[in-house]
């Protein structure tokens, strides 16, 4: 008896109800509040803001709650919300030199004006499970001393190299960068557009690509010239007022790499730069972006195309977005019986041809 695929609507409703129940979990356990996620899952919130391209910790926390902690799903919620927001203008360029740093380290100089500030980092923790956290009522030490040590405004490390002409100078430009979310990506892209795409690219994908450059697939000898995390103010020119107004403050992670460069046909021997900027405290992401950025600059610097994935702009930019990737990957769950049916018939036909007299290659 043929059972039609009827009832899709009821099945969908029932699935959503079940999903809601599973999201909540055991009701004897208190429900997670959005504020708890925002305050205690900050690095997850930061990743969702960075890849969701929307700086709003409350919405990111809500998305994480709604997505049961699936961060790509949370990023998707944020992206879908973001597209409905009107774009009413652009801010002035952010001045990361005026950043209120909570962390600032350099791997190229032992000390520099402003000093090395570790900030709230996992770097030198021993990765031992802390069973005290599993018990109720944890005891949080006051971090006042560390916080007071953080410098207010420190110069960029790469600026010191620039004074001696040892590092390439990034030409200042006044042109408005294109907006990836408002115009289709056309290749080849400018560096500004590439960095924009990388800033919202998937952390895991970029980590893998950056790692591949370290292992020899377009190796570019990167040092972390400076990694800084902190708050910067966002200013916007208001035409009616005729001057810029502070509209808020956001936390950013900025990574500038200094890369060894022995010169090419077109450029003298000097250090070159890779750059990564990302919302929130997202340092793995910012470093990865800087390495991939540098790898993608081979043409401009007159380097050889080694055929490495990280050098292929079209490959990197077409596959870095996890919302595009996950959607297309998972769409193969959707019914394909029409296509499959036509394939079935084709295979039967080809097999019939192979069994009988071959009609190929007439």
């Amino acid at each position: 008896m043929y059972v039609a695929v009827k009832g899709g609507e009821r099945a969908i409703d029932a699935a959503h109800d079940w999903l809601a129940e599973q999201r909540r979990g055991d009701t004897d356990v208190p429900e997670l509040g959005v504020a708890q996620i925002r305050e205690q899952m900050t690095l997850a919130v930061n990743r969702v803001m960075a890849e969701g391209s929307l700086y709003d910790p409350d919405l990111a926390a809500l998305a994480i709650k709604q997505s049961r902690g699936d961060l790509i799903e949370a990023i998707f919620l944020i992206r879908a919300y973001r597209t409905t927001l009107p774009r009413f203008g652009a801010s002035r360029p952010l001045d990361t030199g005026a950043m209120d740093c909570i962390r600032r380290v350099s791997a190229t100089f032992k000390d520099a004006p402003g000093g090395q500030v570790l900030g709230p980092t996992f770097d030198y923790t021993h990765r031992l499970l802390d069973f005290k956290l599993a018990a109720e009522g944890e005891d949080v030490p006051a971090a006042a001393e560390a916080r007071d040590a953080a410098p207010a405004r420190v110069p960029h490390i790469t600026g010191f190299l620039g004074r001696d002409g040892l590092i390439e100078q990034d030409a200042a430009g006044d042109e408005t960068p294109p907006d990836l979310t408002r115009a289709p990506l056309e290749l080849p892209a400018t560096r500004a557009l590439r960095l924009q795409a990388l800033a919202r690219g998937d952390e895991g994908f970029l980590l893998g690509l950056a790692y591949s450059t370290q292992r020899g697939y377009a190796r570019n000898h990167a040092f972390v010239g400076e990694l800084r995390i902190g708050a910067v103010t966002v200013e916007m020119d208001i035409p009616e007022l005729g001057f810029a107004v502070e509209i808020g403050e956001i936390t950013l992670t900025e990574c500038e790499t200094v890369n060894q460069f022995t010169g090419s046909k077109t450029e003298p021997a000097q250090f070159t730069r890779g750059y990564g900027l990302s919302f929130g405290q997202t340092e793995r992401k910012a470093i990865a972006v800087a390495l991939v950025d540098r790898a993608l600059r081979w043409k401009e610097l007159g380097e050889d195309d080694q055929g490495a994935p990280a050098q292929d702009e079209e490959f990197v930019l077409s596959h870095a977005d996890n919302i595009q990737a996950t959607g297309f990957l998972e769409h193969i769950k959707l019914p394909h019986y029409v296509d499959f049916q036509s394939e079935l018939e084709l295979v039967r036909k080809l097999r019939a041809g192979a069994d009988g007299a071959p009609e190929a290659a007439e």
Binding site: I12, H16, A20, P184, S318, G327, L334, V338, E359
Partner: protein, 290 residues
């Protein structure tokens, strides 16, 4: 999507804001002016995943007016889960009327099929497209394939089809079978079975194709000549399962193969559910084919 129902009032008619719709309409007009040419457009993130019809949904959103009547099909059927989901999305965000009858619909969004019932000048057929580039699997780079289209450099495609014939005796492409539009652009008809390809040509309705993730829109104005690529000695063959529909007896409609028991017994039924129901309502049954 029940969790969004309360929030829907905050969204514009058919979800997208008017500026975005205007941008999409400009791309549609350009596509209609250059049939078969892939127009880049600034595809938006939609509240359903890429690969699940975001291109088609954006075209529908830009096309629908409050008086339209929408039909959504997936695999030829109105009641497959993703068709249900998309239809509900527009019922909520545009509050428009919907239908399962091909003849009653003014806008039809489809995935993988062209309705069996011939379309009219008052209708728009919107295809969901996963990979708009017919040359993609021969040349992975978009920069290269755009150049190939510019120069009408389609030799690679003919070589591929020829190699199929040399190896198998047939062209081994059964769906998403490439077509050429008015002797100019080679176009991907979306993953419809090649059985549906002839319906694209000289169709009275406007046909729009949307690829959200790939940010491309293309179009066929009414009565455009669309030819499936072939060779004189190996003409195009729009094949289907050689059986009548087990429910309505039609011998000319595209069939799904359904496995009905653990022993693997099979039956063939119309993939176009509206077509099948209409025929049965008119008194046809499986005895017709006999």
């Amino acid at each position: 999507m029940n969790n969004t129902s309360e929030n829907v009032a905050a969204y514009n008619f058919a979800y997208l804001d008017e500026q975005t719709k205007r941008m999409i309409r400009r791309a549609i007009l350009k596509g209609l002016a250059i049939p078969g040419y892939q127009v880049p457009f600034a595809s938006r993130e939609m509240p359903m995943p890429y690969g699940w019809g975001t291109g088609g949904v954006q075209l529908s959103a830009a096309t629908l007016t409050p008086d339209d009547r929408l039909k959504v099909i997936d695999q030829g059927a109105d009641d497959t889960t993703n068709a249900v989901s998309i239809r509900k999305f527009f019922e909520k965000t545009a509050r428009i009327a919907t239908t399962e009858r091909t003849q009653e619909a003014s806008v039809i969004q489809t995935r993988h099929r062209v309705p069996e019932t011939p379309l009219t000048e008052d209708q728009i057929l919107i295809y969901q497209v996963p990979i708009p580039e017919p040359l993609r699997f021969l040349e992975p780079s978009e920069v290269e394939t755009r150049k190939m289209h510019e120069l009408s450099e389609y030799g690679l495609m003919h070589v591929k089809l020829y190699e199929d014939i040399a190896r198998h005796g047939h062209i081994a492409t059964s769906y998403a079978y490439p077509v050429q539009v008015e002797g100019r652009y080679v176009m991907d008809p979306s993953p419809i079975p090649k059985f549906d390809n002839p319906k694209l040509s000289d169709c009275a309705a406007i046909q729009l194709f949307g690829a959200g993730r790939e940010q491309r829109i293309y179009a066929l104005p009414p009565h455009t000549r669309v030819v499936s690529l072939d060779f004189e000695d190996h003409p195009f063959d729009p094949s289907k399962a050689d059986a009548p529909c087990a429910l309505c007896g039609d011998t000319h409609s595209y069939l799904d193969e359904v496995i009905t028991d653990d022993a693997g017994t099979r039956m063939f039924v119309c993939s176009d559910t509206d077509h099948c129901q209409t025929r049965r309502a008119a008194g046809h049954d499986k005895e017709d084919a006999a």
